[in-house]
């Protein structure tokens, strides 16, 4: 899932301080799971902003809501009958949701309330880590189900760089060496021959390097 963290309060206040009617729009999708931008976080942020305005002697209206998913028009449409009453919206969705909301209501000022970080997993509550960089051409079949693009600090594709120590990455001792993980897993699976097959330089056009991407699934389109 997409992982995000709440933006610092000061940054949000700096963006919205000159507005009088604000809507805080959470999203029930990924950002709810990582507790950065769901209804609960929308309520907390709205309360904090109300407090800020009250302490500053300002009469500002700050309401909160949450949509099922801000990355879908059908759910964004639920705001259509009320969004006009607000000067600006703070969206707590991921970068996709924030942009889609702004795209749908193109006359409305929309601010981000979270920093979108990566595609990752929930290791524990409050501990999320990256697993995928959405490069567009999955190589997990060759690497024992562990992605060197996401898990190796140098995105190496042909084995470790030689800088790891005790199974930890030289970039950060908190980070396991992605290639050690791959090697150990392939060994466990009896698939070490995969490790011995060199890869050719990767085609990055399917990644973000080929420009903004789009999927067209003719089999799904009506």
């Amino acid at each position: 899932m997409i992982k995000a963290i709440p933006k610092p309060m000061e940054e949000i206040i700096d963006n919205v301080k000159d507005f009088n009617k604000l809507l805080i729009a959470g999203c029930d999708g990924c950002v709810t799971v990582c507790e950065a931008g769901g209804l609960k976080e929308a309520k907390v942020l709205a309360s904090a902003l109300r407090l800020y305005f009250t302490q500053g002697g300002r009469q500002a209206q700050v309401d909160e809501t949450s949509l099922t998913r801000q990355c879908e028009k059908e759910y964004l449409a639920q705001l259509s009958d009320r969004i006009d009453q607000y000067d600006a919206v703070v969206s707590l969705a991921c970068g996709c949701g924030i942009q889609y909301l702004a795209e749908m209501y193109d006359k409305k000022i929309v601010f981000p309330g979270v920093d979108t970080c990566f595609l990752g997993v929930n290791e524990e509550r409050g501990l999320y880590s990256e697993r995928c960089q959405a490069c567009g051409r999955c190589i997990l079949a060759e690497t024992g189900g562990i992605c060197p693009i996401a898990r190796c600090s140098k995105r190496m594709l042909n084995g470790p760089c030689g800088g790891s120590e005790g199974g930890k990455c030289e970039v950060s001792k908190e980070t396991p060496c992605g290639w050690e993980l791959i090697y150990e897993r392939l060994k466990t699976l009896g698939q070490l021959h995969r490790f011995e097959t060199p890869t050719v330089p990767k085609d990055w056009t399917t990644s973000r390097d080929g420009g903004p991407r789009k999927i067209v699934r003719e089999d799904l389109r009506i």
Binding site: P201, K202, D203, W204, T205, S207, D209, G210, G211
Partner: protein
């Protein structure tokens, strides 16, 4: 240093683009450059133009600079991060390159290595800023340098086919001037008259705008440019090439005429781009009468 001195003294300058080879054989490049020695003020060494892999501009520049031929090193944002760019700039200056030209670089998808990953760690204005930072004696991390470079710095300017400047481009030009750019090279210009209007407004700015004269190679090339690129080649030129008994000679003649016309109307200089036909430079200069 000739380029800077002549531009400062408002003398007409001639730049010639000199593509490094796609390979290690540098004989033709050096011979072509040598053939116009004394007639060209500086050789612009493109940094893998059109994202086609070639010898680096740094290598190409050093080949000429070490033979006493003044070069303008193109530095582009596409292929290197800030460490590599700064390191190459230091190397270039230490080895005698006096001029640099900051360019964004064509998209990788336009070149011959489509699968590559572009870098673009710095964008154009940041690259100009990085050059200024180095010239101030520090690197981008704020660490003191052991000897600071001092370049004559240029960049690119996009002019419309009618010789106009978009507001955004003019604003970008001012930002580049503030960022240390002293000269600008435009994309190919085929209508010197149109550029004359622009020259007046540019004269207010403390920067020389040098139009590029592109050597057409065929009717097909001219038609392709008219159809797919933001340039306009007058029909007269296309007809002349089409009817000429020696089409290559006519192309050279047209390029020479453009150089001559741009000089006559007071442009600070020209940049002659022959993209692979650098051996035609002596004939172009002869046709131009310069």
């Amino acid at each position: 240093m000739q380029l800077q001195e002549k531009l400062t003294a408002r003398e007409f300058v001639i730049l010639a683009e000199m593509e490094p080879p796609k390979g290690t054989d540098t004989v033709a490049m050096i011979a072509n450059a040598w053939a116009v020695k004394g007639k060209v003020d500086a050789y612009v060494i493109p940094e893998m133009s059109n994202a086609v892999m070639k010898m680096s501009s740094l290598g190409g520049a050093l080949l000429l600079q070490s033979r006493g031929l003044e070069t303008v090193l193109q530095v582009c944002c596409r292929d290197r991060n800030r460490l590599a760019i700064q390191g190459d700039l230091l190397a270039a200056q230490a080895l005698g390159v006096p001029n640099v030209m900051a360019v964004a670089g064509e998209e990788i998808t336009h070149g011959d290595h489509h699968k590559a990953r572009p870098v673009n760690d710095l964008e154009l204005l940041e690259l100009l800023g990085a050059i200024q930072t180095l010239q101030g004696g520090r690197d981008m991390a704020g660490v003191d340098l052991q000897g600071a470079p001092s370049f004559f710095v240029g960049s690119t300017l996009k002019v419309t086919p009618r010789g106009e400047l978009w507001d955004q481009e003019l604003a970008a030009m001012d930002e580049k001037i503030a960022g240390g750019a002293s000269f600008f090279v435009t994309q190919p210009i085929f209508d010197p008259g149109a550029l004359a209007k622009l020259q007046e407004s540019l004269n207010e700015r403390q920067a020389a705008v040098i139009p590029t004269v592109l050597l057409l190679k065929s009717v097909g090339m001219a038609k392709y440019i008219n159809r797919f690129m933001e340039m306009k080649i007058p029909e007269d030129y296309v007809n002349r090439i089409q009817k000429a008994p020696d089409r290559v000679r006519e192309c050279v003649q047209i390029a020479g005429e453009l150089v001559s016309a741009l000089k006559a109307q007071g442009c600070p200089g020209v940049n002659i781009s022959t993209i692979g036909w650098e051996d035609k430079l002596p004939a172009i200069l002869a046709a131009a009468g310069v």
